[in-house]
Symmetry: C2
Subunit: 329 residues, 2 copies
């Protein structure tokens, strides 16, 4: 995230206390924010605020910055809990928080960061801002429940529609729909209804693009482990499309591997599956699907912003969105 936002987040968190245990707590709260996420969602929110006529440095801009800080705090507490739920090994190039300090302390730090998120929302003082965050997290938690339930029950008998519903709930609301809406709220404008279908399509494109990069991205640019989704048993459009038409033997090997916990998976079999996926048409199918969703979303967004007060900012916002849906990293 941009340095002024990181400073704002860090200034909100408790300062060092005299007690060593509470100094340690304060350090744990700062760990994920300091690891340097890209700040995609806060940038989108700020671009939306400008598009709606809010000028950087104006009186209302402080509210937009606090909402942007709150979105980054959301992302960070959710990642701490997600990493426990998926038992991920790494986050942004370092061990996940629970691998450094154990699950109990990490759950509690995620909860505390969650509360600081509400503190930032409250400081923003933007009418309607709190309602946007409430709705956003309700949807995200529902999507997370779908995803986790499927993993727990080894559920692969899923359609494209199932996958899309999960991704819209889990990713699209907090990545696109709500940042667009919060930018409008910060500018004192009622969000355009078209932000929802536009954001759902663009959010799906963003996630499917991520799934594609996870299989065939450039390891130096992508920053996460290539093939990591297979090891974690993630449902993706690519895998679901491939499963529906895979040769029986490949399907059998896949389901057998996905029935195992991460540590028990056979690296050679996972490498085979990775190759089968790349050789199938399913990666291309998913990329085409993402491109179509991105076009649809961008079209709707362009319409919605046609009369926005700041057309230069609108063009920047559209170009940020296009970049997100077609990125290499």
């Amino acid at each position: 995230m941009r340095p002024e936002l990181l400073d704002r987040v860090l200034a909100l968190l408790p300062q060092e206390s005299g007690r060593p245990e509470l100094r340690h707590f304060s350090e744990m709260l700062r760990d994920y924010p300091r690891r340097g996420g890209k700040g995609v969602r806060s940038e989108l929110l700020l671009a939306s605020a400008r598009t709606h006529g809010l000028r950087p440095g104006s009186a209302g801009w402080e509210g937009a910055l606090w909402l942007a800080a709150a979105l980054e705090l959301f992302q960070n507490w959710v990642l701490i809990h997600d990493d426990i739920e998926d038992d991920s090994e790494e986050r942004r190039g370092r061990p996940a928080l629970h691998r450094l300090h154990g699950v109990p302390l990490a759950i509690n730090v995620g909860d505390a960061l969650h509360v600081y998120m509400w503190e930032a929302v409250h400081r923003a003082g933007v009418p309607g801002g709190m309602e946007e965050f409430l709705a956003m997290i309700h949807r995200t938690a529902e999507g997370q429940h779908l995803d986790l339930t499927w993993v727990q029950h080894r559920e692969w008998n899923l359609t494209e529609a199932d996958y899309l519903e999960m991704v819209r709930l889990k990713t699209a609301h907090y990545t696109v729909v709500v940042p667009l809406r919060l930018g409008a709220r910060a500018a004192g404008v009622t969000p355009d209804d078209r932000f929802t279908p536009a954001g759902l399509a663009l959010g799906a494109a963003f996630q499917i693009r991520d799934d594609v990069l996870n299989l065939r991205g450039d390891p130096h640019l992508y920053g996460k482990e290539i093939g990591g989704d297979l090891l974690e048993g993630k449902r993706t459009l690519i895998v679901l499309h491939w499963l529906a038409q895979a040769p029986g033997e490949q399907r059998r090997v896949f389901l057998e591997q996905m029935g195992r916990d991460r540590a028990e998976k056979d690296p050679a079999a996972i490498a085979d599956i990775h190759r089968w996926l790349l050789e199938s048409g399913s990666v291309g199918y998913a990329q085409d699907y993402a491109d179509a969703q991105a076009r649809e979303g961008l079209g709707l967004l362009e319409e919605a912003l046609a009369d926005a007060p700041d057309q230069d900012a609108a063009r920047e916002l559209l170009s940020q969105m296009r970049e997100l849906a077609t990125r290499e990293a």
Copy 2:
């Protein structure tokens, strides 16, 4: 909690959805609230609101009820996460949520319930209510961090002052200080400064009484496993007082057992320790300490409420507080 509050909580949570996974999510959200906690904190808040002149059924009473519902939601999401952090087996006579559905789903349900808590705070619309909740949870999370850190590092080299700091942060704010303050806020009154020292003393008395009951309570009345704190390796005033003067051999057995995970503890050795504690003067010492804290807290609270508008309600509130600090269950 009283039936009208439970109804309010359940009505706030999402209704059944068409998708089976989301129906399951909605059931998980309702599980802990339905298990029937005593509603100690919400009753205290409502008694404080009446004492400050707010009449049940008046326009402002709705705000008090939403804050009370939010306190109960707080208690429930915190218990879900606490039970994971302590790896507790049971909660209110049934298996803990993560033992029924696994850790990942239970963390996510706790997070979702946390968000519904903020929804209830928001609906209350009581000026200052949000700030009270923010401060309350910051302190609770800090206290939880102390407690969890000591467990993780097998830290027993602790003083009475360490224990009191932990209990004030972790228990006293959300059990007494903030319910008293929220009642005043609901009535549109600035909370009396004496609520803080009064609530810290009464909250400590409440927790120490709980620690005593955990060792020598009536199993039918108490509702939790007698001796459970020893199995979970909880720091209590009783144990710290006893440790400071225990015979070397008993101390050695104790520290050896506390160095083990719950499942590895030797039941016979735990039974010995339980007996040593009961035979030592430390349970009596802790009960005397709790009584002194309760007297101090009640004295301060009585002073603070001397000019409150509804003196009948003030007497009820003081009697509720007295009951809490001297209860048998």
